[in-house]
Symmetry: C2
DNA sequence: CTGTTAGCGCATTCAA
DNA sequence: TTGAATGCGCTAACAG
């Protein structure tokens, strides 16, 4: 049996559909008696407006589309939680779409959102936003999250990855380490590139020499990199991994090899996933307020959709979380 | 500037809107030449169909609504990943809604999905499904995930929480432990109740006596419970926590107190979160294929929406992951 | 094979 | 204050 429509309610309440619409949308120019009648009828029929029809008529879907890369764990859940919190406040729904594989599919996914959402939140560290949006209805407002890309036409929420990487290298140097190896994120990932950039900059500033092992944000990459470091025994005394998962992979290798992490060997990650605190020894890292990013992204797109001028926010600065201290013997 | 509509495309290609619709929906009865013309025009205008209008006309939204409780970390991301994987295959979008606080809000959230989605996947371990669905358009197909509740009118994806709890208690007993304490999940949570049920059943079967400390799935609850156990020193030689996070909380307390976890003190969790493997000593636990549950949920609701008879699946059986072994001295 | 048209459910003008 | 009528963008039934 099909759901009740506004017409069913109108018939049940013996009024016109226009009146039903007025009552349900809180127009003030309705007599209390009619309001009563309509509300009763609506309740009796268990009426709920059809969002599709509503969106067609209002040109407003009251929903925001979200396009994310393949995120894992807390990163994903916290980001969505932050958005959801604000979305609930603003009376907006969240339409989620994971980005698979190539840019072509991503564009397709974005397209299916037209007429379904009022705005887009896009996190696409691996894809050129220009390409992504070139095929898009330009009438759909969109914002980019943490893309570290210059000169986009779309507003962005930035995270200061480069500055944060410098902070952590500075900390390692201050702790007495001099031969700091960087395990990088996937090539082409803009966040990873920014972090490597910061690493190189800080190392240069301290008059040290950079050394980068290519990684890909996976625990296995950390494992591999650490094994390589142990194999070479080339004087490396600290590792800065571009994210926590790689740092954890490295940590396990060092631990198993009897290398004192936090003493003989410095180690730092990036993200402050929960695991960073719970693993032992726990991990020095940069904390990113992921839920906060999500919340800001939603607030911003909601403002744009409402025609308010979007307050273009300054970059979010991650916070240094120190859990290991100085190099032994220093 | 508003997006191009099907009419704009029709005008641009000098054909009728019906033809445009036919071309774009892959009807076979169109001359290649016209197909060509329409596709060109569509491309030129960057046309994308309006999902709202489409849904209105087709009575199909090509989207599935998902209502989740406040999930964290891998649990959330894996579940969504599983659904998303199948959704992409089936050409469906995912409309996500976190369940906040009380049942009333949940019902409201469900209502706003009408006309927006073709079916619902609901995970609500803390809310009575009957209540949830009583206010719902009965025309909206819905399935319940892991609700461990009998006699619902809606199809369900079940996880055999009770059986799994028995398995893990059996394992602890087989490892030589006799005095097994259970840290339970939140009262009123059906999954938690099922696990406690299994614990009690297995303990009874082995002729041992049950002892339950009330928890709430949080790490802190595990911490508190373990502290209590240490304080009392009442002969408890093993702990089965209703989830991994509580087990981790307990583990840290035991570790800090110098209690040999896995030897002197048995410990087991439930879920197999990534942390369970990485923490040291790593955790014996039950692995639940969370992505698999999500995938099955989506496959099932998709089948129902398509009018296929839903293959009512049998309960998913978690897998025992042994990472600690026998009681020392046995 | 193609065009015309009705109608999906709703909000909203315009009249009354 | 209320009702009748129009249109939002699209698909499908019907005619040609």
């Amino acid at each position: 049996m099909a759901s009740a429509t506004i017409r069913d309610v109108a018939r049940e309440a013996q009024v016109s559909v226009a009146s039903v619409s007025r009552v349900l949308n809180g127009s003030d120019n309705v007599r209390p008696e009619m309001r009563e009648r309509v509300e009763a009828a609506s309740r009796r029929l268990g009426y709920t407006p059809h969002a599709g029809a509503r969106s067609l008529s209002l040109s407003r879907a009251h929903a925001i589309g979200v396009m994310l890369p393949d995120l894992h764990g807390e990163f994903f859940s916290e980001f969505v939680r932050g958005m959801d919190r604000e979305a609930a406040k603003a009376g907006l729904q969240l339409l989620l779409s994971n980005m698979h594989a190539d840019a072509g599919q991503a564009v397709e996914a974005l397209k299916t959102m037209r007429g379904r959402v009022d705005g887009l939140i896009v996190m696409a560290p691996d894809i050129d936003p220009a390409l992504l949006f070139s095929h898009l209805p330009q009438s759909l407002p969109a914002i980019l999250v943490s893309s570290d890309c210059e000169g986009s036409a779309h507003p962005q929420i930035q995270v200061d990855n480069m500055g944060a990487a410098e902070v952590i290298v500075d900390h390692l140097v201050a702790s007495g380490y001099r031969n700091i190896v960087h395990i990088s994120g996937p090539a082409g990932n803009r966040e990873a590139v920014a972090r490597e950039h910061g690493y190189r900059e800080a190392v240069r500033r301290h008059g040290l020499s950079p050394r980068v092992i290519q990684g890909d944000f996976s625990e296995e990459a950390g494992t591999a990199a650490a094994s390589e470091i142990l194999r070479n025994r080339d004087g490396a005394d600290a590792v800065f991994a571009a994210n926590d998962m790689m740092a954890v992979g490295a940590l396990v290798v060092f631990r198993d090899a009897g290398v004192a992490v936090g003493g003989e060997m410095g180690l730092a990650g990036f993200d402050d996933v929960p695991l960073a605190r719970l693993i032992s020894p726990s991990l020095t890292t940069m904390r990113v307020d992921i839920a906060g990013i999500g919340a800001r992204a939603l607030t911003m797109i909601a403002a744009i959709v409402n025609g308010d001028t979007a307050p273009d926010s300054e970059p979010l600065r991650p916070e240094l979380i120190i859990r290991q201290t100085t190099k032994a013997g220093k």
